[in-house]
Amino acid sequence: MSYVAIKGGADSIRASKRFFRDSICLAKGIGDDELQKGLIFSCDRIMSEGALYSEKLAAEAMRRTGGDLFEAAFYLRAHRSTCRRIGEAEPLNSSSMRVLRRISSAFKDIEGGQILGPSCDYVIRLFRVKIGDTPEFSAARSGKSGLPPILTGNDSTPSGVECLRRRDQIIVLENKEEKPFDVSRSFPLPPYPRSALMQVMSRGETGAMLAFSYTSMRGYGDVHPTIGDLRIGYLSVEFIHPFTGNKVKIGEIRATACESIGSFNSDPKDGKLRLATGFGFCIGFNETKAIAMSILDMAMHHKGYSIGGIDIATNPEIIMHHVDGIESSGFANHFKLPHYVTFQADLQVLEKAKEQTDE
């Protein structure tokens, strides 16, 4: 395929941009707080898929795009590439999360307890019910719930899967990497390192991740997991103070983590039967994405979940190249650009083919 440059149309392009800005100008009046705290799940999707945690820029991206999440994530991903990378934070472990919500569908009683947290799982999706009007919510918001506070903020809350791990009932995959691969600097060749697959999925587009994992759940694969541990909450970001050499807390980020448990498999390490697990993690609150990621992780790393070897979710080649929202939306949208010459060539080929068929 070849591209042919076009020229002209500068005034119309300027007018189009102006028209776009005018159409969404009311967004300018929406403040950072309203967007960051009111539309938290949109902000979190933008940050997660843009692979950059910045609540300020997520809000700004939403204003500039009229709430188009694909475009907004594009803004963040583009901005990320313009910033100097100063280094790595200390590794983040989801068991040290200050949890707001933490559930397990595998075990009724888990260390630390089941915490429903802020969730719309129990909301009836009918407009006549208003969440903000329920008395329980208002009481808790105003700090008058009368319940004893639990201060587990700095405690470690182990995953619900941890008890199985301690009992040696979980497959621990071999770690073949000294340091994690970074797909934002170079793209790996197959067979893809696990860390590269996890990074790609962690910044993957929620809809794509869900759709691919759904293929396995529904029948084009064989993953039907039990959620061992699903949590949302805050993780501390720490860095080393350059002058004291000690750890310094920079701030906290919202995050979601999910460990799914699959059926038992033969452990490649010693051939014993153990349970397979998958891990999903993304910045921001996005349970659907974390669950989908854990399913894809399990499907790709345990071939027993493949049916006939032709399914989608078990294929790293498919997942690696098709879950990124910036790339896929960019490709889809490029079809809108002028293809006059290539299409004329298509028409000429059609005419020639017709001539030859007629002959």
Binding site: L57, N93, P118, D182, A196, S202, F239, I250, G251
Partner: protein
């Protein structure tokens, strides 16, 4: 008071007061800006429970600055694109290490700590209300 705690707690304190105090320190002490506050990114390595390895879960936007107050180094790294706050906290960090305005800095740190703990308390009250133990039928 641990110097390393100041960076986080000062971000929770009243920002106008932090900026005012850093301006006062600029007037009273010799403040040199070694590195202007700039927005940078930090990679976020995530511990992977499946293979006990790590992977990158994304990046976080931070702002950092390096200064000297009376020849003592100070540094700050704060969340998001907030260069003014980064510079002010870096000045406070160096001033604290140099023994300049320590009492005023400690007061602001305390203010930030109290705000953070109050927020935690409020959140944990709401979290506690959602703790559940389902009964089997």
């Amino acid at each position: 008071m641990k110097r390393e705690n100041n960076n986080f707690y000062l971000q929770q304190a009243e920002q106008d007061e932090i900026n005012t105090l850093s301006q006062q320190i600029k007037c009273r002490a010799n403040v040199q800006i070694i590195q202007q506050p700039t927005a940078q990114t930090l990679m976020l390595p995530i511990d992977d429970p499946v293979n006990q390895g790590t992977f990158y879960g994304g990046e976080v936007l931070v702002s950092s600055a390096i200064v000297q107050v009376n020849d003592v180094d100070g540094w700050a790294m704060v969340m998001d694109d907030t260069p003014v706050l980064a510079l002010s906290i870096a000045i406070l960090d160096a001033a604290y290490a140099a023994g300049v305005e320590q009492e005023a800095i400690a007061k602001l740190v305390q203010q930030g700590r109290q705000r953070h703990e109050q927020n935690l308390q409020n959140t944990q009250t709401e979290v506690a209300a959602t703790k559940v133990s389902f009964d089997l039928m």
